[in-house]
Amino acid sequence: MKQTAGDLPARPADTGFFGRLADDEKVLGRLMLAPAITYIVALIGFPLLLALFYSVSNVTVGTHGWPSFVGLANFRHAIGNPTFPRALWNTLVFALVSQFFVMILATILAISLQREFRGKWVVRLMILLPWVAPISLGSIGWLWMFDSVYSVINWTGRALGIFGKDTWPIWLGQPTLAMGSVITVHVWRLLPLATVILLGGLSGIPKDIHDAAQMDGAGVLRHHFQITVPLVRPIALVALLFGTVYAFTDMIVIYVLTRGGPYETTQVLSTLAFFTGIDGGDLGGGAAIALFLFPVLAACAVLILRFARQAEVT
């Protein structure tokens, strides 16, 4: 039957304020976007501009009124500080070494988690836990495990006879061990994210492709390195870059475990910026140190977006 306009139920005359609002796409769209924009402006945009402003001023925690412009003095001062090159080097070591291990372990985990086995969900849950737990709590847990007197690692090692009578590593007190320890905790913490991202990438490869590779006669290694790895690469790079940004910017692990010690051997730029700007009260100096990372992170962000788009295409 043909329906005429007269058959349609008449639209209620009064839909109310919210009804009209919901019908107006333009207004509704803006309204929906508003919280996100407010968030970005208030918590990212404003602090970034503030940091830029601080880095070229002589502002301290004690400054009253308008600070004065000092040009690039804060940057010059930061570079002149003997701790700075050390922290820059540590930042690179911390970020690159931890990402190296994260990527290798995450690949192994993701590939194993693709297989079906009993108790798979328990393993998945355990791997995700470090990500779910608050970082500071997790780090405090590690702090106890690395304790110079009560370290559960040392006592276990001794009980099992792995550590001899004269072996008693001070995990957070010896320079090389301290760096190793903070990197270990950082790897522990970032592994879940990288694993989940890689797992997503792996399961995104159609099963037919794997079957075709098998039919074409590819052995395990060829299959892995010529089919699986290239196909998962764009997504793996996203995981890598995310991890790198985290490693460059996050200071909680180091702050809780070593506070940059011993002898600045685990001092990274983010902790140095914090100690200079907040603990030391030199807001301008802290901002200048923090901004040294900005170009690196901006480049990372651009790369992430590019790879993410590439992953969409293939």
Partner: protein, 347 residues
């Protein structure tokens, strides 16, 4: 070239028997089509032959050799997938070369063999492109080139035409058949499309519920279906199946024609046909109606080709007829075809 023999093959997924005791033999150079509705086990059967799926029970022999425990790469089989499964990160050239490299073919001979396979399918111009830059038809050719490049003894094709649009599909079907004739490689082809099966197969294996219902040449399967399932699955529109008191009677819609149109009157069974609706499809006319006085409650479809100039209007009753040999009888309980009988005389 190889023969394939399948003995009592079974595949269970939990409690489900996807393939339920199949015996089959494929001859050398044969084009065998596995036909059936989705979920009938045809793809599982193909994947077991390929070695991508391990059978629960039974044997698979390729070229007389039991391959039950051989991995796919040791079976010398090439397979074309429904999705074509081209490697998206490789160029067409690398896609085609991949099986050669994987099998350790001498490096120097690879470019020439790739060119030859590409020429076979007219895709020489696309060799440096990535699969995503190709159309559906071109991708299908690349998949075929990748399959033939290493000269397999057996081809497995899993619905390779179903992602093409209708026009291209007819063309591709013809090309595929010609190509198989030319190289003469034994081929097993899976489809749910009965037209593809009829057009391509030397023999058709009709499957349902993990079992083989009938094996035979397209004509055999079409003209003498083994049971009501095969009768109903092949043909568009399918065979008319009319439930009688003691058996089911079947006949093809295009064999039931106006009495006046039949060339001779010998062995003709005349019946009154009441037309309820006429559908003019251009090349054919489909008539929906009932057999007025014999099966008043069963719907009958008649397919009149446009060459039959016989005026029909809805609501009319006409004298139609069918040759006695074109009437098939099926057991009412099992659905299996039974001996022809003098069914009409009784009425």
């Amino acid at each position: 070239m190889a023969t394939v023999t399948i003995r009592n093959l079974e595949k269970r997924f939990g409690d489900v028997r996807a393939v339920d005791g199949i015996d089959l033999s494929v001859e050398e150079r044969e084009f065998l089509v596995l036909l059936g509705p989705s979920g009938c086990g045809k793809t599982t059967l193909l994947r077991m032959i390929a070695g991508l799926e391990r059978q629960t029970r039974g044997d698979i022999l390729i070229g007389g050799q039991v391959v039950n425990d051989l991995p796919p790469r040791a079976r010398k089989i090439a397979m074309v997938f429904q999705s074509y499964a081209l490697y998206p990160h490789m160029t067409v050239r690398d896609n085609i070369a991949f099986p050669l490299k994987a099998q350790g073919v001498e490096k120097a001979s690879i470019p020439e063999r790739v060119e030859r396979a590409a020429a076979m399918f007219g895709i020489e111009l696309f060799l440096n492109r990535k699969p995503r830059e190709l159309s559906g038809g071109e991708r299908q050719r690349v998949a075929l080139a990748r399959a033939v490049v290493r000269e397999p003894t057996l081809f497995l094709l899993d619905e390779p035409l179903s992602n093409l649009d209708a026009k291209l599909r007819t063309l591709a079907r013809d090309e595929l058949k010609q190509f198989q004739r030319r190289i003469g490689t034994t081929t097993i082809y899976v489809t749910h499309d009965q037209i593809e099966a009829m057009g391509l197969g030397d023999r058709i294996v009709v499957m349902c519920g993990g079992k083989v219902r009938q094996v035979g040449s397209p004509q055999e399967v079409y003209d003498n279906p083994a049971d009501t399932f095969v009768a109903g699955f092949l043909g568009s529109p399918p065979m008319n199946l009319l439930r009688g008191d003691d058996c089911t009677v079947g006949f093809r819609p295009e064999r039931f024609l106006p009495l006046a149109v039949h060339e001779s009157r010998e062995e003709l069974v005349p019946l009154w046909f009441r037309v309820n609706r006429v559908e003019d499809l251009g090349s054919d006319r489909l008539l929906y109606g009932t057999l007025h006085d014999t099966f008043p409650n069963e719907r009958v479809i008649v397919n009149l080709p446009f060459t039959v100039h016989f005026p029909v209007v809805a609501g009319g009753v006409y004298e139609f007829a069918i040759k006695e040999k074109d009437i098939k009888f099926f057991d009412k309980a099992t659905g299996r075809r039974t001996e022809p009988r003098r069914f009409w005389a009784k009425r």
